[in-house]
């Protein structure tokens, strides 16, 4: 009950404070919108290439597209269209294969899995049309047999790439500042001394803060994902529960680092500089906005051990690349290890009273 009341109180404190609201929720959105405006490509007209066998179904398929707005269907030779797909001039290639009479028509779809921005839409349009043609015109349940062939290239739309990074970055900033700043303030204002007079255990008191920040982290992730999907057509391929687990671990890891910072900072003013000195370089090195392949090897080695690198990486692999949780297990284990290290150091550094208050008491007795 103590824990629950503390959790509710902490969440209220975060949500009622205008500046923490801004940093938790507006700040990541501003980042996303700015990056979206600068780098994001709008969906524009969907371009679908078609290789036809001139069969009746293919003709119906072609005709259906006359009525669909915002989609451009171009016919042509398969080789040329495949080149166009690889160059990004078309989003999807549909190939109708000549079939024996009475057999289903083979339809092959080619697309770039990472180009989720447009191909996802294109794919569903094509499937919809195929279904429509089947059911409405022929009333045969299985006229087409669709076979998908993924042409994977290195291109991932920038916004899709960015979204997990924004989530990771937001969790980091919110957890570091949202933990260290209130804790040092409470210490400086003497709230911690007052709490210390009650039987509550430090672990329970701080644990409620940690879980409170995790709640905030989930809210952040949800808002960022919804914004990404609705404004920037980011496609979430992976499982959200898996992403939630990663966010939970990431939040706990960053909260632990926040507790550590609170232990190091002598006063509120120094929280800013310490937290920024840690968070800013990490934000850039951890692949939040771009991969750092071009960086010198030693810098990449540094980046590979940073906590945020693994949070960003795991989120990206699961959310955008659709990988299983098991595939990101190493990253999760590294995050757990970091969290344990941070918690141990933070526990060692934890103080109920700030040096300033003790100094005052010496004077005022």
């Amino acid at each position: 009950m103590t824990f629950w009341t503390l959790l509710v109180a902490n969440t209220r404190l975060q949500l009622r404070n205008r500046s923490s609201l801004f940093w938790h929720f507006a700040f990541p959105l501003i980042f996303m919108v700015l990056f979206g405006l600068i780098f994001g490509q709008g969906a524009g007209v969907l371009k679908i290439g078609m290789v036809t066998d001139n069969s009746l179904p293919a003709q119906h398929f072609q005709a259906a597209f006359d009525e669909i707005e915002g989609v451009e269907l171009t016919g042509g030779e398969e080789v040329a269209l495949m080149e166009a797909l690889k160059d990004g001039q078309i989003h999807l290639l549909v190939a109708f294969r000549a079939a024996e009479a009475g057999q289903p028509v083979d339809v092959e779809l080619f697309y770039d899995q990472n180009e989720m921005l447009a191909t996802g839409t294109a794919k569903s349009v094509v499937r919809g049309v195929l279904d429509g043609v089947t059911k409405a015109v022929f009333a045969v349940p299985e006229l087409f047999r669709v076979k998908e062939t993924v042409i994977s290239t290195e291109v991932l739309t920038f916004m899709s790439f960015l979204l997990p990074g924004i989530i990771g970055m937001s969790i980091m900033f919110s957890a570091l500042f949202g933990t260290a700043y209130p804790l040092v303030t409470e210490r400086e204002k003497g709230i911690l001394r007052r709490v210390r007079l009650t039987p509550v255990k430090a672990a329970v008191f701080l644990g409620a803060k940690a879980i409170g920040m995790t709640v905030i982290a989930f809210m952040q992730a949800a808002i960022i994902i919804v914004t990404g999907i609705s404004l920037f057509d980011v496609q979430i391929l992976g499982s959200l529960p898996a992403a939630a687990l990663i966010a939970l671990l990431g939040a706990l890891m960053m909260v632990s680092l926040g507790l550590l910072i609170a232990g190091v900072a002598k006063r509120v003013e120094s929280v800013d500089s310490i937290a920024n000195a840690i968070a800013m370089p990490m934000m850039f090195l951890a692949g939040t906005f771009f991969e750092i392949d071009a960086a010198p090897d030693w810098l990449q080695s540094v980046a590979r051990i940073l906590p945020l690198t693994h949070l960003n990486g795991a989120l990206r692999d699961v959310l955008i690349r659709g990988q299983e949780l098991s595939a990101v297990l190493p990253a999760l284990l590294i995050m757990v290890a970091w969290a344990l290290v941070f918690i141990m150091v933070a526990a060692y550094l934890f103080k109920w009273e700030s040096p300033k208050i003790q100094g005052n008491n010496r004077k005022t007795g």
Binding site: A9, R12, R194, K363, G365
Partner: protein, 308 residues
Amino acid sequence: MSVIVDVQDLTKRYGSLLAVDKVNFAIEQGEIFGFLGPNGAGKTTCLEMMEGLRKPDGGKVLLKGVSVWPDPGKVKKLIGVQLQSTSFYEELTVKEIMILFASLYGRRLSGKQLDSLLGMAGLEEKRNAYTNSLSGGQKQRLAIITALVNEPEIIFLDEPTTGLDPQARRRSWEIIRELQSKGKTIILTTHYMEEAENLCERVAIIDQGKIVAIDQPQKLIDQLDKKSKISFTGSRPLDNLFLAQFGAEAGRFNSDDGYVVFSGDPAQTIGALLESAKQEGIVIKNLHVSSPSLDDVFLGLTGKELRD
């Protein structure tokens, strides 16, 4: 009555400074006990060692027979504490603060308990107000009732009325008296003489880490053994030689810019004073005769003003 607080040879050292120097006293159940002393005298340090916030360098504190040290956890449920500088979470309401503090003791505050505590502090109307909208007096009263959520037997109040206007101060006194009527033992620090005289059954005057006097306020005043206090100023600074003519020690005279003399026979003393002044060409101004107060006891015992 039984002794509920027993302090023996309590000592605290900060480097070479003896902040609290072998302090001994006992407090009975249901008593309002006050620590009186100037800033830096060791009041707060003394209180903090009793509350379990600051580890003593020597001596013992027994609360209801339980030693506070080495494990202050044992007395946490027994005591309620209002700290000197009180801050709350600004974004929580009065009611939320009360619920939070109760939960820190693993308690759930019933609606009735909440109402009665808020009623005691006169904060019923403010239950849904954020704490940063409260006045100084309201904040202090909230601090007092947060110290009551665990129904403690011993209540520590560190300067409960400092910085409050007289009306707010009296309001706090009412709460403290109400607590006493419920059988609570109250230990407070103050640097208001008026507060000590009005509220405390016994006061300990503490100076430079030592208790220099401990008794009922009226008895301390009676100990002065002088019926009247004569205060005055001179047209020019008066020297000790001049002042010594009135039969008291020089160190006790200086009060603000004026002078104070205690006398069992004020008429005679004033006559002698005016006579001497006339001879030396000094004009005596602001001549005032009054009964001595705890202030004077303090001045007499420590040679200084309470608030410097």
